[in-house]
């Protein structure tokens, strides 16, 4: 009986190892979370400086450029750090960083992300700023849910949390930057730490 049980265990492991990208690092999550919090604080500081508490002035083009540049810097930093730690774990696992499975993962996450990105750019061009934090959270959550088929199951629940936070942010607009910081910052750090303890140690 022991042998059959062992067989089943090995079958399960093989199925998972051959269909999921398991080198996603918890440290990546923590690093991305820290970048997000720094970015949110930075944007908040500028808002305080430029608008004060009043929000009496309309968004001008300088505000839009600032948001676009801040977003690009944040995304690039997050991607670089994310890849860096995942690459280290892949090396440890003797798995290639860019293999069939990570390609599938990137494609599954990329489609919702690019769609959401274009939506945000369109809104920004038309001067609609208020839903951006919520929309980025919702689309990122959808990307995680979609990508979770090709990596740890935990990513699925992280995705659900991000979507819920995003929807709340869309209604509770005054605090949307705070929700953004919680979603991209705190949740990433909490999940990253959890995954690090669970899989990487």
């Amino acid at each position: 009986m022991e042998k059959h049980l062992q067989d089943l265990k090995e079958i399960r492991q093989l199925m998972e190892r051959s269909s999921k990208f398991l080198s996603l690092s918890g440290l990546s999550g923590i690093a991305v979370g820290i970048v997000a919090i720094v970015a949110a604080v930075f944007v908040y500081m500028r808002q305080l400086l430029v608008f004060g508490e009043s929000y009496s002035r309309y968004f001008n083009w300088a505000d839009r450029y600032f948001l676009i540049i801040a977003a690009i810097v944040t995304i690039v930093l997050a991607i670089i750090l994310g890849i860096f730690f995942t690459n280290q774990k892949a090396k440890k696992n003797k798995e290639k960083l860019w293999n069939k499975l990570s390609k599938k993962l990137v494609l599954a996450m990329g489609l919702p992300l690019i769609t959401g990105g274009f939506l945000c750019i369109a809104l920004l061009v038309h001067g609609i700023i208020w839903p951006l934090a919520g929309i980025t959270l919702v689309f990122y959550g959808m990307a995680l849910i979609n990508g979770s088929h090709y990596t740890y199951q935990d990513v699925y629940y992280l995705g659900i949390c991000e979507v819920i936070l995003g929807i709340i942010a869309l209604f509770w607009v005054g605090y949307s930057l705070l929700f953004w910081a919680i979603g991209f910052g705190v949740l990433h750090i909490v999940y990253g730490a959890r995954m690090y303890v669970k899989y990487d140690k």
């Binding site: 009986m1 059959h4 067989d7 089943l8 090995e10 079958i11 093989l14 199925m15 051959s18 269909s19």
Partner: protein
């Protein structure tokens, strides 16, 4: 006990391993199987042949970057047989607990 579902094609670990991988993926190349299962070329080829013979996997040969590449996929009957085998395994374990 339903031992009739213990198909001979899955009698050893290597064959079980090959089928488990092909169950969750559309296909896998010889190299990928080798890496995942940590087997030698000759050993893997022998087992693949054996499973192919009973019609549980299909072989596809093509050229990728001018190099020949062989990839394998589970057939419908292979999937059905593997599922029956898994079920029998689970049943066996459940009954013994």
């Amino acid at each position: 006990m339903s031992l009739e579902h213990f198909h001979k094609a899955f009698e050893n670990k290597a064959r079980l391993g090959i089928m488990s991988i092909l169950m969750v993926r559309d296909n896998a190349t010889f190299g990928e199987l080798k890496e995942l299962l940590d087997m030698t070329d000759g050993n893997l080829a022998t087992h693949l042949k054996a499973i192919e013979k009973v019609g549980f996997l299909s072989v596809n040969k093509e050229f990728v970057d001018r190099k020949p590449q062989t990839s394998y996929a589970a057939t419908k009957s292979g999937r059905a047989a593997f599922e029956a085998h898994l079920k029998a395994l689970e049943e066996l374990i459940k009954n013994s607990l």
